[in-house]
Amino acid sequence: MADEEFLQVKDLRKWFPITGGILGRTRAHVKAVNDITFSIRRGETFGLVGESGSGKSTVGRCILRLLDPTSGSVMLDGVDIANLKPKKLKPFRRKMQIVFQDPYASLDPRQTVKGALVEAMRSSGAVADAEAATRAAKELIQRVGLNEDHLNRFPHEFSGGQRQRIAVARALATNPEFVVLDEPTSFLDVSVQAQILNLLKALQKDLKLTYLFISHNLSVVEHMSDRIGVMYLGKIMEIGNKNVVYRYPKHPYTNALLNAIPIPDPTVPRVPAMLIGDVPSALNPPSGCVFSTRCSYVKQICHDKEPPLREVAEDQFSACHFSEEFSFETVISKVQQAETKRGNAAGAPSSSG
């Protein structure tokens, strides 16, 4: 295991049983996460993308043991936390935290900000006594861009963006090394989102954090991540460096996904939608490759044999039988090239937004 690999997820599975009948027998399973393998390096931001039903949120919760995985392992700094008994888990709980999607439901509405922070610190053992906790709370709230008198207020007195800041503060209260960010800006306006994303980036640098950034918003993920994992129906389709994957993906699903992003630039040519129809149900995923029912390059082998996730280019992994034959180039790549040309022609650096 490489020294820099901080978190290693191997063959992670989370199946939700569907019970039925008088005796409550298990009739079927929702295969939300189905044999996922990937790793995150220390200090990086790993972006996990996927559409609804892909299982990305479930992965986050399984890693944090908010849900117990059905099988598989999660190695954090050498210890398999997926299979630890709850009592042994407590010291590891400190190291990893989560920021949720909904700023309006992620805090107890009847608890003050200070109460929430102090409770977090004391429950995790990050701090010795009440006085130290108060001092730490003051420091923490300022670090996320709010100030001391906000400590005595209640969540409903804040805006969505401010609440997310508080949620980040609460996550940082235990001095974690690893933070799962589960759609942290989906419910926020664009301008507020920018503030929160900038804050997260600054915190990562200052506190040397490792992030797992889960989102369905591909532009935000591109901005935040170093490496990307693309999920579909419980399985990983592609993993790789962000710049490579966003421009030259090796999996047809990734290609379709990236070309569907509406780019905020009217001069960019519109690509007609590549994927038709809907995602199949996770109760009964297609046999063979889960994407086979919607793939434009599908062949018989795709229905018969599930393609393993393998390295198809340097540090780029794909779960497709034919990855080596594809040389996709996304709209994003073409637009970036055009930008660079324009920038060079104008003799000035291209506008970076």
Binding site: S191, A194, L218, L257, L275, G353
Partner: protein
């Protein structure tokens, strides 16, 4: 109007009266906490065949504007000024029953969440045919077509039948005709197997398909204005792409005017001709789509464009400091001035007028002066 503007306008078929013309609309809401001055003089227009994107963040008033056009404001809302002209009629002066007719025939709206719009206990077919049947004579016409195709004798269309009354199709004939019209509408929105979907219930369909059904119901009456209120916000990106393709195709084929309400600048860039940017109850900037991205004038628009991640590998996002104002106690003068880096004392005193600073580019900001007109 200057000569330059006139030339530009005469090139497109747009010099006719706009389909929708909102002039200085002001709407207040009375709530427990106080009076929310939600709309503070909204000015926008949509021309025939045009797709206008109404962009803004939460609380800017875009949904309230849509609700006002549709006559769907709640009881605690009061229109305190302005006009909403659909063609020549002021919708604000219409009675409730008139608005109901208008909602059906002229201005269709599709919302973000199809599940709240579709009745869960009725099949898609029942709901769709209900809408189609509202138009006088359309079913009869289709029934005649059915008879023709089946080779049956056509009834006399004038003079009535034996008892002197005009001909009416039988119930089964009506059902057939309605079903045909409905399945045609469903296939127009790109639904595969419309015959099967006709008999299905909303919960049996996926989100994207429900959205398409809603669009089918909306366009069934060939409305002159079609309002899409955040219809792709809840959809996955691949489904969103399909819906946008559909909207583009519908525009091509039907020439209806569309008002697209969204907070996503990418969606706007991919389908709109013109954009109006709203902030805290007024339209702060309106321009053609390329113009607004290339040359945003209002500081808020500039800030917004800089805050959006554009998949270009930018390092930092510029955010707009502060947050959206409380509309019960809004800032005086220009509502954006507390957050504006260019603000000076005039901005805190007077609300800037809505002026045309360049051809077909309007801004509400004291930084800019009215475009000089020649002659």
């Amino acid at each position: 109007m200057g000569q330059a503007t006139e030339e530009v306008l005469s090139k497109k078929d747009n010099q006719a009266r706009p389909v929708l013309d909102i002039k200085g609309l002001m709407v207040d809401f009375t709530t427990y906490a106080g009076v929310v001055k939600a709309l503070d003089g909204v000015i926008l227009d949509v021309k025939k065949g045009e797709a206008l994107g109404l962009v803004g963040e939460s609380g800017c008033g875009k949904s309230v504007t849509a609700a006002t056009i549709e006559g769907l404001l709640p009881d605690n809302a009061h229109v305190v000024g302005g006009e909403v002209l659909l063609g020549e009629d002021d919708l604000l002066k219409k009675s409730k029953s008139d608005m109901r007719k208008i909602r059906v025939n002229d201005v269709a709206i599709v919302f973000q969440d199809p599940m709240t719009f579709l009745n869960p206990v009725l099949t898609i077919g029942t709901q769709l045919t209900e809408v189609i049947d509202m138009e006088e004579g359309i079913v009869d016409k289709e029934a005649l077509k059915v008879l023709e195709e089946e080779g049956k004798p056509k009834p006399p269309t004038t003079g009535g039948n034996a008892s002197g009354k005009p001909w009416k199709p039988t119930r089964s004939l009506r059902k057939k005709a309605l079903r045909r019209l409905a399945t045609q509408a469903l296939s127009k929105v790109g639904l595969p197997d419309p015959d099967r979907i006709f008999d299905e219930y909303p919960h049996e369909l996926s989100g994207g398909m429900r959205q398409r059904c809603m669009i089918a119901m909306a366009i069934a009456r060939n409305p002159v204005l079609f309002i899409a209120d955040e219809i792709t916000t809840a959809l996955d990106v691949t489904m969103q792409a399909q819906i946008l393709d559909l909207l583009r195709a519908l525009r091509r084929d039907f020439e209806s005017s569309i008002l697209i309400i969204t907070h996503d600048l990418g969606v706007v860039a991919s389908i709109c001709d013109k954009v109006s940017v709203m902030y805290a109850g007024s339209v702060v900037e309106t321009a053609d789509i390329r113009e607004i991205f290339a040359n945003p004038l209002h500081p808020y628009t500039q800030g917004l464009l800089k805050a959006v991640p554009k998949v270009m590998g930018e390092k930092e996002l510029d955010s707009i400091p502060g947050s959206v104002p409380d509309l019960i106690y809004p800032p005086a003068g220009c509502r954006f001035h507390p957050r504006c880096q260019y603000a000076w004392d005039l901005c805190a005193k007077e609300k800037p007028p809505h002026i045309e600073t360049a051809p077909r580019h309007w801004v509400e900001c004291h930084l800019y002066k009215e475009m000089k007109t020649s002659g």
